[in-house]
Amino acid sequence: MASTATAPPAPGRRRRTPLARREARWAYLFLAPWIIGFLAFTAGPMIASAWLSFTEYDVINPPEYTGLDNYRELMADPQVARSLGNTVYYTALHVPLVMAISLGLALLLKRVGRWQGFFRTVFYLPVMTPAVAVGILFLLLLNTQDGLINRGLALVGIEGPSWTTDPDWVMPGIVLMSLWSLGSTVIIYLAALQNVPRDLYEAASIDGAGAWARFRHVTLPMISGALFFTLIVNTIASLQMFTEVYTMYFGNRETQNRFNSDAASFYVIHLFQEAFQFLHMGYASAMAWLLFVIILVVTLVQVKLSNRFVFYEGEDR
């Protein structure tokens, strides 16, 4: 048996030339900013936050280890249950509505010729509006007596609800507001629709498919990748809803009591308040990890489902 010290390099192992090593050094130099940022602002904080979630920490005094207490408290906290319930309710309404309306608008836009750019702009401009301004605008549009929305409903003989003050109507009002900013989803669908090869429609027509059959058996499968993508992105975003609702109902001692803010409480808003208003940093960290787990599970379920429904045509997505 040859001694390992004198054995030539194992055949499985590629020999690296000095040039390759020099290249690798440069490669890591290019990646260095991201690696440093990842360690300092992602991996490090993740570890710290995981650890903090097992402590009681108010920033002033050093963290105190409390084991699973935060998580136990979390499970029994009615505020957490309420805000999580609201968030799920909002997501369950917001995501399907955004997808359906965006698809409708994209189908309309696809048929527009020269003016397509103009109408695309019309649907996208609300997305450019700063979220705080959207919150302010809809606080007024949803006003019970003088709001534009209830005035419009009155025109068709409907007495509009108290969108901003009736606890049962706060959440539908927020969903309504959220639908104004669906422009990016429209643009994604429009791009997907324009990538569907025309000959598929022609072939389907020749085979006797009507408008609905073409939509069901050509359009939907061909854009299922985009549908799936927007399902995931919109779900993740709406589970983290913060700015518009915080603007409307929180952060102001006067209005926070006056306008039943329990009904408008979202998970991330509650988390933010626990962390930066009540300085329950440990508890808020536990809340953040619960959110992470929820998002992971929801996304995994959606990916699993998509394997059944999404049609991938050798495209390089």
Binding site: A24, W26, Y28, L29, F30, L31, P33, W34, G37, F38, F41, T42, P45, M46, S49, L52, L108, L109, R111, V112, R114, G117, F119, V122, F123, L125, P126, M128, P130, A131, V132, A133, I136, L137, L139, L140, N143, D146, W180, I187, I188, L190, Q194, N195, A226, F229, Q240, T247, G251, N252, E254, L271, F272, A275, F276, M287, A288, L291, F292, L296
Partner: protein, 307 residues
């Protein structure tokens, strides 16, 4: 407007549409449809557009009415009260906040664009052990909710004594961001490798390859990254809420929230000030969109970024 829509709906002009697909459409398609379908199409498109535009129209109209008319029915600025804007201007340091938003936005956008391009070049050009694993890690960070890292990140800036400065609003961007690294890498991979090999043979160093060759070639993608991040920074409320106490340092969204709390419900009920402030915060974004429309649409369509 309606007649123009009708005309284009009836006979799309090939090649005039902004999207290539519009050019491929045979002009006769819509002319073949029955009249009622064409009417329904125009009605649906016009109706939807009006619904999406009305909030803007109301916002601008109401912001130009005297206080007691803000909630009056109608959209027009009657009676006309442009003085609301000078009032808003003196009621709150809007100009300071506007300036802060521009400074923070440019710093955040420039930092993330340059650093992400630098990192993306590393992933696109070099072959080295662990590359695909690392790139997978880059993509994985996109899934992480902001809330998980929010508290320790705050503690870091607080430890560095940089809370209540604007530094935390943009300095995190110096290390690149997963979404833009992904976007710029895609663009870099589409460039012919021979360009770079030729420059190497001519004795260019790697940083020269990046600055002199790659950077100018991916300019359109860099602009996409810049305008997206500028918009994200302009709109952000959470970070200014966490880090800023001093009103002089506020960005516009943070300032606007103060204006709402001070002059809106539970405050002075001077809604005209709140509305004028909202218009002032929104107009720069509308201008940005018209200047960079192509980049926004391209960025969303190719990457599926949520606005």
């Amino acid at each position: 407007m309606t007649t123009a829509v009708e005309r284009t709906a009836a006979a799309p002009v090939p090649g005039a549409g902004p999207a290539p697909a519009a050019a491929r459409r045979p002009p006769a398609e819509d002319a073949r449809r029955p009249l009622w379908q064409r009417v329904a199409f125009v009605a649906a498109l016009t109706g939807a557009s009006v619904i999406f535009m009305l909030p803007f129209v109301w916002l601008v109209g109401a912001s130009l009415r005297p206080r007691e008319y803000v909630f009056a029915p109608g959209f027009l600025p009657v009676p006309f009260a442009p003085g609301n804007y000078t009032e808003a201007w003196s009621a709150a340091p809007l100009l300071t906040w506007l300036f802060n938003s521009v400074v923070v936005g440019v710093a955040a956008a420039a930092a993330v664009t340059i650093s992400s391009a630098w990192v993306a070049f590393g992933f696109a050009y070099f072959r080295f052990p662990g590359r695909d694993l690392l790139f997978g890690l880059v993509l994985a960070t996109m899934m992480l909710p902001f809330a998980v890292t929010m508290i320790p990140t705050y503690l870091i800036w607080s430890e560095l004594r940089l809370t209540d400065t604007q530094v935390p609003l943009w300095a995190g961007n110096l290390f690149g961001s997963a979404f833009y690294i992904f976007l710029l890498r895609q663009f870099l991979l589409s460039l012919p490798r021979e360009y770079f090999e030729a420059a190497r043979v001519d004795g260019a160093s790697y940083p020269q390859l990046f600055w002199k060759l790659a950077f100018p070639l991916i300019r359109p993608a860099l602009l996409v990254a810049f305008v997206f991040e500028f918009k994200a920074s302009w709109t952000d409320l959470m970070k200014p809420l966490i880090y800023l106490r001093n009103e002089e340092l506020f960005t516009l969204p943070r300032g606007l929230k103060v204006v709402l709390d001070r002059f809106g419900y539970g405050g002075e009920q001077q809604w005209e000030v709140v509305l004028a402030g909202s218009v002032i915060a929104t107009v720069p974004m509308i201008i940005l969109f018209f200047l960079a429309q192509r980049h926004f649409v391209e960025g969303i369509a190719t990457t599926g970024r949520k606005g």
